[in-house]
């Protein structure tokens, strides 16, 4: 046999071996596995982005509203002992665990932050193959210039650990949500009237005040921002202090008087219930009836600061003689 044929056969054998090597399944499998890992990391990245920019805010806002609702209902049930001086701590604990102290609050069951995060964990584990755990949650509730008088600010900070088979992330996320208080119940009214009067917080649209506007405000049971009134946050604590950013007040309406809560005091809610009025000395509050509002059955009165605030003229008032 010629040497050339021998070399040609060897060459074909080498090419054959190479074909078998490169077309073997393990390589395809490795490539497929790599693509799957890449896909999962990509989907995990998308999930983290959604979580950070959308989902946590949804959770914080919905759970915050539920907590606020449960808290005000609980305050009403507890009556005069229902104000929470440690409101921030109570709110955070209730939002996280559904408990006030060690008492389970039924309306929070299945709607706590912990439950919603655990639901999320179970879902992403099954759907995206991500092992998600959270730790060090910190909840802050507040009102300030940024929230204004008609919203509560709610901040959640927590650390998330996320693991997939090929990568892991640890991120500390901060989420802020504004809770609009319009339409919520003001427990301050209910508690101070021994559960007889409920009032919802509805901001007034009146901007220019006079006695007619005040009558409209009184009849509609609306609220107005006043920097010398307590904020909604302080009302939940029965802390009657002026709040420049967020003070709100409403008027005592006939249903309060009909409930037997009768006082010789200015008919601005925080003044009436606390007997402390801006610009007046405690126990020495000058009071004035207002024409067109005060009647025989409804002895509406205001003290000097609020007469000025609501732009009532001197011709429309008459001093109350004690």
């Amino acid at each position: 046999m010629k040497k050339g044929v021998f070399y040609t056969i060897i060459s074909f054998m080498i090419v054959g071996v190479l074909f078998i090597f490169y077309s073997s399944t393990p390589m395809e499998t490795e490539q497929t596995e790599l693509a799957v890992v890449q896909d999962r990391i990509s989907q995990a990245d998308t999930f983290i982005h959604d979580l950070e920019h959308d989902y946590l805010e949804h959770i914080v806002r919905a759970t915050g509203y539920q907590t606020l609702y449960s808290l005000t209902e609980e305050m009403k049930d507890r009556g005069q002992t229902g104000f929470f001086l440690d409101l921030e701590e109570t709110f955070g604990h209730l939002m996280m665990t559904g408990q006030i102290g060690i008492d389970d609050i039924p309306s929070m069951q299945g709607k706590t932050l912990d439950k919603r995060l655990l639901d999320l964990k179970a879902n992403v584990d099954e759907t995206l193959f991500i092992d998600l755990t959270y730790k060090n949650p910190v909840i802050e509730v507040y009102q300030d210039d940024a929230t204004g008088p008609w919203a509560l600010g709610l901040n959640l900070t927590l650390t998330l650990d996320m693991k997939t088979e090929a990568a892991s992330w640890t991120k500390t996320l901060e989420t802020m949500a504004l809770l609009d208080i319009s339409g919520l119940e003001d427990p301050f009214f209910n508690i101070h009237t021994d559960g007889n009067v409920d009032r919802l917080i509805v901001p007034t649209e009146i901007a220019d005040w006079d006695s007619e506007a005040l009558k409209e405000h009184l009849d509609a049971e609306t609220y107005v921002h006043n920097e010398r009134a307590p904020s909604f946050f302080d009302r939940l604590r029965n802390n009657i202090v002026p709040s420049a950013c967020c003070g709100i007040e409403s008027m005592i309406s006939p249903d309060v008087i009909n409930a037997g809560i009768v006082k010789q005091m200015s008919y601005v809610d925080h003044c009436y219930f606390s007997e402390l009025c801006p610009g007046s000395e405690p126990g020495n509050v000058q009071l004035f009836n207002v024409d067109g509002i005060t009647t025989q059955n409804f002895e509406f009165m205001l003290e000097p600061y609020h007469i000025s605030f609501y732009n009532i003229s001197n011709e429309e008032i008459e001093q109350v003689i004690p």
């Binding site: 010629k2 040497k3 050339g4 044929v5 021998f6 070399y7 040609t8 060897i10 060459s11 074909f12 080498i14 090419v15 190479l18 074909f19 490169y22 390589m27 490539q31 497929t32 790599l34 693509a35 896909d39 989907q43 998308t46 999930f47 959604d50 989902y55 949804h58 959770i59 806002r61 919905a62 509203y65 539920q66 609702y69 709607k111 919603r116 639901d119 999320l120 879902n123 992403v124 099954e126 759907t127 995206l128």
Partner: protein
């Protein structure tokens, strides 16, 4: 030059060409082209459904959106199409969710693709000429869905999936 050397050089050249060819085939692509295209399509459909917000769409062009708004079934116009469908699914309005995908997503997907949009393991919309079991390739894109029903209540989380097969 003897014939032996000629054959040897020829064989070595052939091997070199084959090695270069195999290198390009196996190391310069991440998979078969059809699989990659399907994967891109699944991501595109999922991306469109999960990023297009209701308020970005013109009611006049999509009768289902007009009907949903009239029926009070769009609680938040900032919701994405996928979130709106998830909400409809949660409250039992599956037919409306199907119509929503049919009118908004389906016209954007080229006809040669077989695909399905699935929420919580239920197929809400499917367009296919072959079954998934007879397909040569099948790829998925997944998300976790959630949203608000009102101020205090949320729906979800629910798994959402787009499957594309050929």
């Amino acid at each position: 030059m003897s014939k032996g050397y000629f054959y040897t050089v020829d064989a070595l050249m052939a091997i070199t060409v084959l090695i270069i060819g195999l290198y390009f085939v196996f190391f310069t692509t991440s998979g078969s082209p059809s699989l990659q295209v399907s994967k891109n399509m699944a991501e595109d459909v999922m991306g469109t459904a999960s990023s297009t917000k209701i308020f970005q769409l013109n009611d006049q062009a999509y009768p289902i959106l007009r009907a949903l708004k009239q029926a009070g079934l769009v609680p938040d116009a900032r919701s994405t199409l996928l979130q709106e469908a998830g909400m409809l699914y949660t409250i039992g309005n599956v037919d409306e969710a199907t119509l929503l995908f049919e009118q908004t997503i389906d016209p954007t997907v080229p006809e040669q693709y077989n695909y399905a949009i699935i929420i919580n393991d239920d197929v809400l919309f499917e367009r296919s000429s072959i079954t998934q079991t007879n397909a040569d390739s099948l790829v998925t894109s997944r998300r976790v869905l959630y949203g608000s029903i009102d101020k205090r209540d949320m729906w979800g989380p629910l798994p959402a999936e787009v499957r594309v097969w050929q």
